[in-house]
């Protein structure tokens, strides 16, 4: 297995004795898009800063491609990041001049690459304007352009789509999706749950500094439900085949995850062979927004109970 682009172990951060991030462990592999979601103040930005090597952990560890980014800052040559929302640039310089400055700091970035990322982020027309007159969305796109400048193996983005119009939003998510398909590991924090569902691999739900759930969206996207005459027989039969990763029963349905997406056509045949009638076969759509709201609400209720118990009430 390849070295994870990011690996955190029991990562915690205290600011003035207040825990901002608690005991966080996760990894992001090359080619994966890992999203941090959570309400405002959940600690997403602090996690991003800890992982990017801008803030020091109070305990636990962060490894970037197996290295400690504080001890080996040169590992950041493999990183592209936007950690400010809106992305921060010198307002008195043009968009192009800002990218040239980044290119000089990064070292060995050909001039042509600056043009490429400007065009990619649809900023070619505005490249010679001072960043001070850019709109919020343009700044954000320039931020993504700067992050992509070195063709990084790891992208870390804090709210990359904040303040963007729907078209720019689509563009940014499309660019990130493409980068992941080319093997780049992407870690982002976002509130755009609908976009996240469309292309993220895994989503970490954060609340009050802790990771309360991690959802594998890849599995969810390949999840199907079949309404059948006998769910128990259907489950027993489907469980045998290696092209089915996981099967469960939900009321009069079996819900399963395909290991091979193209194997969906075989399901009806297999069930009919054992005399199970198939009434309906459909993708089991996953409502991340509903799931997220439910998980955060449950966690909050749990936290309130714990707090009340701590003060001797309830």
């Amino acid at each position: 297995m390849s070295t994870p682009a990011i690996e955190t172990e029991n990562l915690s951060k205290l600011i003035r004795s207040k825990p901002i991030v608690r005991d966080l462990s996760f990894r992001v592999n090359p080619g994966e898009v890992y999203a941090l979601v959570g309400p405002n103040g959940a600690g997403k930005t602090t996690v991003i800063r800890l992982v990017a090597g801008l803030a020091f952990p109070s305990s636990g560890s962060v490894r970037m491609f197996g290295c400690d980014p504080f001890e080996k800052p040169e590992v950041r040559a493999r990183l592209g990041a936007v950690v400010e929302a809106p992305a921060a640039f010198y307002p008195y310089l043009t968009g192009r001049a800002n990218l040239e400055l980044h290119a000089r700091l990064a070292g060995s970035v050909p001039e042509k690459r600056i043009d490429e990322v400007l065009v990619l982020m649809e900023l070619g027309h505005a490249s010679d304007r001072r960043v001070g007159v850019y709109s919020l969305g343009m700044r954000q796109r320039l931020g993504v352009a700067a992050a992509l400048l070195t063709r990084p193996e790891l992208l870390i983005l804090d709210e990359p789509a904040s303040g963007m119009d729907p078209l720019s939003l689509h563009l940014v998510h499309h660019v990130l999706k493409r980068a992941a398909m080319e093997g780049t590991a992407v870690l982002l924090s976002t509130h755009h749950l609908d976009e996240v569902v469309a292309y993220c691999t895994r989503v970490a739900i954060m609340e009050d500094g802790a990771l309360i759930d991690e959802v594998n969206l890849l599995d969810r996207r390949e999840r199907y439900r079949a309404r059948v005459s006998d769910p128990h027989s259907a489950r027993a039969e489907l469980d045998i085949y290696p092209w089915i990763k996981h099967v469960t029963i939900r009321a009069d349905e079996v819900v399963f995850i395909l290991a091979e997406p193209e194997a969906l056509g075989r399901v009806a045949g297999v069930l009919s062979e054992v005399g199970v009638e198939l009434y309906e076969l459909a993708r089991d759509t996953f409502d991340l927004r509903a799931y997220y709201l439910e998980r955060v609400a449950a966690q909050r209720a749990e936290n309130v109970d714990a707090a009340l118990q701590a003060v001797g009430v309830g």
């Binding site: 800063r49 990017a52 090597g53 801008l54 803030a55 020091f56 800052p73 040169e74 590992v75 950041r76 040559a77 990183l79 990041a81 936007v82 950690v83 400010e84 992305a87 921060a88 640039f89 010198y90 307002p91 008195y92 400055l101 980044h102 000089r104 700091l105 990064a106 070292g107 700067a146």
Partner: protein, 257 residues
Amino acid sequence: MVQLLTMEISKVLRLNSVRFGLLILVVFPLLWSYAPGIFKVYGFYLVSGFQVPALSLLSSMEFLLPLLVAIVSSELLGMEFTHGTLPTILLRPVGRSQWLLAKVLIVALFPFLILLFFLAVSMVAGLPYGYEAFVGGTGLGATGLLGDGLLAPGGAFRELLRAYGMAAFSLVPVSLLAILFTVVLKSSAGGALATMSVLVVMQLLVVFPWLEPYLLTTQLSAYITPDARMGWVVTLVALYCTAFAAVSVVLFERKDF
């Protein structure tokens, strides 16, 4: 490092405080050169062009130049906090200390550049009085403006160069103190204000005579200090510079951004 230094130089030139400071440094010697009521107020007349740079320096080292140096130094680092560019830069494969050292080198060089400019402008402002030998002093030597008989142009210019050089050198710890406070406070205004406050407090500390020789503010008047004390001044200023720069780098290395 050369790359970083070049970038920092271009930033310095864009700072509003630098532009405004340069303007003031142009106006200041012109005022001394023109000064219609100089005799009425100070009881002397200017008799040589060499006295204009001297008076400009004497009247600006008390407050104007330390303030300018503190503001510019704080702003050079503070602008990265203001624009939010610091995290973005630190994400590039550049060591934190290396990046801060580039700033430290530039702000340490800044007093020399600004005083070179000030000397040049003051010399131009003094042109109406001429630069021949004159009876009197520049104001920067041991005998003040009265002098010790005829002063040759070479001798007068040497006095100016020595005084301007020493003044620039003694301003370097002010720059570095401003950097230190900006690292701590993460703000240009805070850095400059804290620096000036420390200088003001130090000026009050002269009431403790045993402390006075060690104070940073005492070294700010080193440009009119007799040559015999120069070794002490240079050593102390160098110690202040090293301490301020080292503490800045150590704190910067451990800061969360």
